[in-house]
């Protein structure tokens, strides 16, 4: 349980208000605790949740002090929208992986198109993992909000994070309220069957 304690792992989750970042943060925190890590997280409430950008940080390792990730120190950027993924560059270094939901939500007054955004993201080359999570969850489960749980399940199957899938599963069962649990477990299963895993 405590074998990976040398690791320090920093995750930034990016998206817009209402995409469930705080739930994802809770699941990942719980999973990291299950594996015996020290954890610190940071989130924002209130004004920033009103349709603005929402950025949350999760850090785990042997001993964690700061709840915020330093510039260039991110290990994984998980973005729920492609333009929001661009904010991940601030935290990225040469090895940082980006798992990005291929979902575009227009920004008022900005002339960023989906194509323009993707062109920048593709500079990440092999460190970019673009997944149509919202689309898949809408088609297969009828709810695009499940994209987040689908993606954090996927990172564990793809080993983009030093946490076991079964820890993520346990954490989902603990964190998600009972009436939504079944659907969320389906999102987890869907991620395990994903083509992207193979």
């Amino acid at each position: 349980m405590q074998k990976n304690k040398k690791v320090e792992f920093n995750i930034v989750i990016l998206g817009t208000g209402g995409q469930g970042q705080i739930t994802l943060l809770e699941v990942l925190t719980e999973a990291a605790i299950l594996e015996g890590y020290d954890v610190k997280t940071s989130e924002l409430h209130g004004l920033s949740q009103r349709g603005g950008s929402v950025e949350v940080h999760i850090r785990f390792g042997k001993k964690i002090y700061s709840p915020l990730i330093s510039q260039g120190k991110g290990d994984l950027v998980l973005a729920l929208e492609i333009q929001e993924a661009l904010k991940g560059f601030y935290f990225a270094n040469q090895k940082t992986n980006f798992l990005v939901n291929d979902y575009f939500s227009a920004i008022l007054g900005a002339n960023f198109s989906r194509e323009k955004t993707l062109k920048i993201l593709r500079k990440l080359k092999k460190h970019l993992f673009l997944v149509e999570a919202s689309k898949i969850c809408q088609e297969k489960l009828g709810k695009d909000i499940l994209a987040g749980i689908y993606l954090i399940s996927l990172v564990s199957f793809k080993k983009l994070i030093p946490l076991k899938s079964k820890s993520i599963l346990k954490a989902i069962k603990k964190i998600i309220p009972e009436k939504y649990l079944e659907l969320n477990l389906k999102a987890f299963d869907l991620a395990s069957e994903s083509e992207a895993v193979k």
Binding site: I33, V39, H45, L47, K123, P177
Partner: protein, 556 residues
């Protein structure tokens, strides 16, 4: 709002168990472990969760809880409970302390009977604050109130307990000052036993002691003397308190760092990153400072670095204290870190690298790309969109001045709405409108939220009637305190119906007055046109529930 699972967890009486807590949740737990009896608040981010949780658990926890009309009232009701021997907690955001300060200062003179902790959450970086980037620390000097600054959730819990202990021992309210990154930080926290004072058969009673609780001259001067004597004693306590802790480094005997709160965590992160082992003094007390401990720490140094967010209060204290023990000490702080905005860990790392002449390269900044800004805006379906639409149809925007306040409607400033020419604190838009009306003959519409109206709008409205001017005041009644997470207020309490705003308006004899559901666009537009021409004050209550509470009202 907290989940059922969470509410069970926060009341878990299993000492030694670790659970993951948000800073604010840890404050709640610390109060429960102290045996708190009485909790009051006015919601404000980043302190809102404290009230939200007590709202849900109060009954099970055996605690009295209320959302008060504003922070000043919240402080006063808690003071009354403490005068009667109960342990009380008051929670508010930074600006709340401004409102409460009128009562805070005499309260430190009178002191309290039951322990009293006051939680104040500042918001460096203004993540959820509009009117200013406030550093509440000078209130500690102004009011002579002992002040603790936790760094993380575990300390939020521990320092809350310590605050109650100090308060009970010295009979004085104690402030706990957090910031956004402390209040909204999660980590595993070790639980202790929940104290339930109810089971101890305690009977609260206000015992008449006018010399204790009545601040009339000449007694007031004696009280001030007693207060200053208390602070001297608490300073001795602070000198010996383990929450002001020194970690002796190995790297240098000539350099040291002083820090507190969230900044301390960035210091520790930086030292790890730079592989340095400097002596660090972490201050858990902001007021009164352990002056001897600080002097002992700095007396043999060549250079000291003070890492603190916003204005350099600690730095100035260290400058003062160095004069006696080490006048040649070079003091670094705001020359290496900014005074505006919240600190980031990399900023602190850079500052320590400069201070110690160590190399620090940020790993990668190769993609320098412009990032489109996604501003917060009203939710889709928000009833305020209807108000904006009706108002825009009624007038030419260039001909009318628009007043704003704090609440979801402060987003009127952002595109595509752009209806806001001034914005200040809650309740202020009406007073400012009256002043503009007295100064000019320009037309003016001011927006006030329902919760803000109860909070601080009523005195300003009465003033407008009494001193006679004619702004158009639109009270945006969405039946909740929306921005901070849909808390109840006097007009929309947990159990309907509450106090009717229209009864208050009518009692003032305001003739130009209508309650309109903004879905009735034509009526709303016509009323705005009509009222803008009036010679006396006019009021429209735009009543339509926030989409997040609409369901609750539909069920009624």
């Amino acid at each position: 709002m907290p989940t059922v699972r969470f509410m069970e967890e926060i009341l878990l009486n299993k000492p030694g168990k670790k659970i993951i807590l948000l800073g604010n949740e840890a404050i709640v737990r610390g109060a429960l472990e102290s045996g708190v009896n009485f909790v009051s608040t006015y919601p404000g981010t980043p302190a809102s969760e404290i009230g939200n949780i007590f709202f849900r658990i109060a009954k099970n926890a055996g605690v009295y809880f209320e959302f008060s009309t504003n922070e000043k009232v919240a402080l006063e009701v808690a003071a009354g409970a403490s005068f009667s021997g109960l342990k009380s907690l008051v929670a508010m955001k930074s600006f709340g302390l401004n409102v409460a300060s009128d009562s805070l200062i005499p309260l430190c003179y009178t002191g309290v009977e039951g322990g009293m902790a006051i939680l104040v959450a500042d918001d460096p970086g203004c993540w959820s604050s509009a009117q200013s980037e406030q550093n509440s620390r000078p209130y500690s000097y102004l009011a002579h109130i002992p002040t603790l600054e936790p760094s993380d959730s575990q300390e939020c819990k521990d320092f809350t307990k310590l605050a109650f202990q100090i308060s009970e021992r010295f009979k004085i309210p104690v402030m706990i000052r957090t910031t956004t990154r402390v209040a909204h930080q999660r980590m595993p926290v070790t639980l202790s036993k929940i104290l339930n004072l109810k089971s101890q058969n305690q009977k609260p009673k206000f015992i008449k002691k006018p010399e204790r609780f009545s601040t009339m001259p000449p007694r007031v001067f004696e009280m001030k003397k007693e207060l200053l004597e208390k602070i001297e004693k608490i300073q001795v306590f602070s000198e010996n308190s383990p929450i002001n802790q020194i970690s002796r480094g190995r790297t240098s005997a000539k350099l040291g760092v002083i820090s507190s709160g969230i900044s301390y965590l960035y210091v520790m992160e930086a030292l790890k990153e730079l592989n340095l082992n400097l002596p660090v003094l972490k201050l858990g007390f902001f007021y009164p400072l352990p002056e001897k401990k600080i002097q002992d720490f700095i007396k043999s140094f060549k250079k000291v670095l003070i890492i603190e967010e916003l204005e350099p209060y600690l730095e100035k204290e260290v400058e003062r204290l160095a004069k006696d023990v080490n006048p040649k000490l070079q003091i670094f702080g705001k020359n290496l870190i900014p005074e505006i905005g919240e600190l980031k860990p990399e900023t602190v790392t850079s500052a320590i690298a400069q201070f110690t002449d160590t190399k620090y390269l940020i790993p990668n900044t190769k993609y320098n790309i412009p990032i489109p800004k996604r501003l917060p805006r009203l939710c889709p379906g928000c009833p305020y969109w209807l108000v904006v639409e009706a108002v825009k149809k009624a007038i030419n925007e260039k001909d009318v001045i628009f007043g704003g306040e704090i609440g979801c409607y402060m987003l009127f400033r952002n595109p595509p709405i752009n209806l806001q020419d001034y914005l200040s604190c809650m309740g202020s838009s009406v007073g400012i409108a009256h002043g503009i009306k007295k100064a000019t003959n320009q037309k003016i519409i001011t927006f006030v939220g329902d919760s803000s109206f109860f909070h601080a709008g009523i005195p300003a409205l009465i003033n407008t009637v009494f001193n006679k001017s004619n702004p158009l005041i639109i009270i945006l009644d969405n039946r909740t305190t929306a921005m901070t997470g849909h808390q109840p207020h006097p007009g929309a309490p947990a159990t309907p119906d509450g106090i009717k705003i229209e009864d208050i308006i009518q009692s003032l004899g305001i003739k130009n007055f209508k309650v309109i559901d903004p879905i009735n666009q034509e009526e709303f537009t016509n009323t705005v046109k009509e009222f803008l021409e009036k010679d006396e004050v006019s009021v429209i209550i735009a009543r339509r529930p926030c989409i997040f509470v609409a369901e609750k009202y539909a069920k009624k």
